[in-house]
């Protein structure tokens, strides 16, 4: 893949654009990355659904109607209803809100943490780096799901808790990537000249290293979103995520509802479809953004 990465980089330099890179990326995406564009469209639809859930849905997510239980599909309930007569489409749309809010929240927390840990560990090096990295080693020795399950069952399931816990996990895992990029930037002569010009630690890290790490951070964030959303769903599936009655895709699939699914298979099918679509969308968008922003990370 090294050769393919190099071509992309050359292509980017061959047609210099007057637009800033963050605008140029989206135009390049529309032109050259059909799958990325599809992914972006799915993500956009999800975003609209998540933000506008209250306006879009005609029902409340916990609004029961015992006369309308287990409807498969009809004009009033496009995707049917569950054992309490709650509208499935409404619950899926609110579920998108959980997935996205937890996903974006956790990735935001994680990126801040990963950047801080990664840059500081790389910049100061020596003993700081050694200690921090052994801590990261220890964290990464756990299978992620076991560790997250342990923590979530102790702090208790809630939307805030899962966002923070997933954020910390995401941050620790990705601090390695940020660190390795920061390490290579640290060796450049412009850092040395900044130091010679009398810049302090804060100025060098914030004004010189951080901007150069930024594209990597964006790549880490976009490619990581699908994993975070999937992990949230796994934890909610196990009853360790966002607690009911608030609908989550993972929670809707959970074993607690298994008996009802035999009677109404759509209760299992649609949440699984929604989750797969979301993960697919974020994967495609993330892959395309990675190729456009940072060819070096291709194939990671």
């Amino acid at each position: 893949m090294a050769t393919a990465g190099a071509t992309v980089a050359v292509e980017r330099r061959a047609w210099p654009s007057s637009r800033p890179w963050y605008a140029d990326v989206w135009i390049q995406m529309l032109r050259r990355k059909p799958l990325g564009t599809i992914g972006g469209a799915i993500v956009l639809v999800m975003l609209v659904a998540a933000v506008g859930a209250d306006v879009i849905t005609p029902y409340g997510f916990a609004q029961t109607s015992l006369g309308e239980r287990f409807i498969a599909m009809d004009r009033a309930h496009w995707l049917g209803t569950d054992q309490l007569g709650r509208d499935l489409l409404t619950r899926l749309i609110y579920g998108a809100r959980v997935s996205l809010y937890v996903g974006f929240g956790a990735v935001l927390i994680g990126c801040v943490l990963a950047t801080l840990v990664g840059i500081l560990s790389a910049y100061f090096g020596g003993r700081v780096d050694l200690f921090v990295q052994r801590g990261v080693d220890a964290w990464m020795a756990f299978p992620p799901l076991l560790l997250l399950m342990s923590i979530m069952s102790l702090v208790g399931p809630s939307a805030w808790n899962i966002t923070i816990v997933l954020g910390i996990a995401f941050g620790v895992q990705n601090s390695r990537i940020i660190r390795s990029v920061a390490l290579s930037i640290k060796e450049h002569t412009f850092i040395e000249s900044a130091r010679a010009a009398g810049s302090g630690h804060v100025r060098i890290t914030a004004a010189h290293i951080l901007p150069n790490v930024l594209p990597t951070i964006i790549v880490v964030a976009t490619t990581g979103l699908s994993t975070v959303i999937l992990t949230e769903a796994s934890l909610s599936f196990l009853g360790l995520g966002v607690p009911p009655p608030y609908p989550t895709w993972g929670g809707m699939l959970s074993l607690a509802g298994l008996d009802h699914m035999y009677q109404a298979p759509w209760l299992a099918i649609w949440p699984a479809v929604a989750l797969s679509l979301a993960v697919f969308g974020f994967n495609m968008l993330g892959d395309a953004l990675r190729d456009l922003l940072d060819p070096r990370l291709k194939g990671r």
Binding site: M1, A2, T3, L35, R134, G135, D137, A138, W139, A141, F142, P143, P144, L145, L146, L147, M149, S150, I151, S153, L154, V155, G156, S226, L230, A233, S234, F237, L238, G250, L253, L255, L258, M261, Y262, P265, A268, I269, P271, A272, L275, S276, L277, V279, F280, N283, M284, G299
Partner: protein
Amino acid sequence: MKQYVLRRVALAVPTLILVSVMVFAMLRLMPGDVATRMVEGHGYAATLDALRHDLGLDRPVHVQYLDWISGIVLRGDFGRSYWTRQPILDEFTRRFPVTLELALFTIVVSVVIGVVLGIVSAVRQDTAADYVGRIVAILALSVPYFGLAVLAVVLPSIYFKWTPVWTYVPLTRDPLENLKILLVPALIFGVTRAGPIMRITRSALLDVLRQDYVRTAWSKGLPERSVILHHALKNALIPVISLIGLQMPLYIGGSVIIEAIFRLPGIGLFFFEALGKLDYPVVQSVNLIIAAMVVGLNLVIDLSYAFLDPRIRYR
């Protein structure tokens, strides 16, 4: 080589100590009190204090930690469950074969699917077969395995009157029945993990196919089959193997969910049930054993690289 091995082993020790401190501290510092639940909900002892004394929870935290660790290091004793008072190691060794079998079976499924699709995709690069293969890989990557597992439990029972076997039979008692039970869980878990393997096989094989020795093999007039399978694939499989090693924690983590859905009595279910009951000794010991396995596995992988590629030893 000997020096390198010693250095790597020495580096793994502090990691494991840190891991043990982490699991222990995590379980003690966070809210959630097992004693209250055992006394109030289940009447395990007359008073809270009596139970705390029984379980050793009234001792200072560092004493509890040293007790736990010294038991492991000196006597190979991983402690006992709060609820059943049974030794954890016995239960772990009883259940481990189930999880190991599931993991191995899953890896076989995902490698067979992933490597075959990867080869086809790479050899027929940019043809219809390649695009189909890549799209299948992306889709497989997107479908959550627990969603697929729930569908596999629910849908066939509605439409074909087929249900998974719910009572587990060990491999030693009836191998055929045992494989029948594990087939569906392993297929489902394996399919969803085949995506990354397919992608890495494809890209590694594409890289290798451009190398000179492969061109030499072609120009010797060897048939395609021999060039691809004997010459190119061997080198292309190195990154595949390291990917599987790196993903071992995911296989183990995922087994918690798969075992819960298909009711397989493995480590995952043991862990999940202990977690629900705040059974600290079980949670911390299982976490530690598995983390030690992961560290050990990574060590073996690193050492095998060093064995294969002498340059690594001198870095």
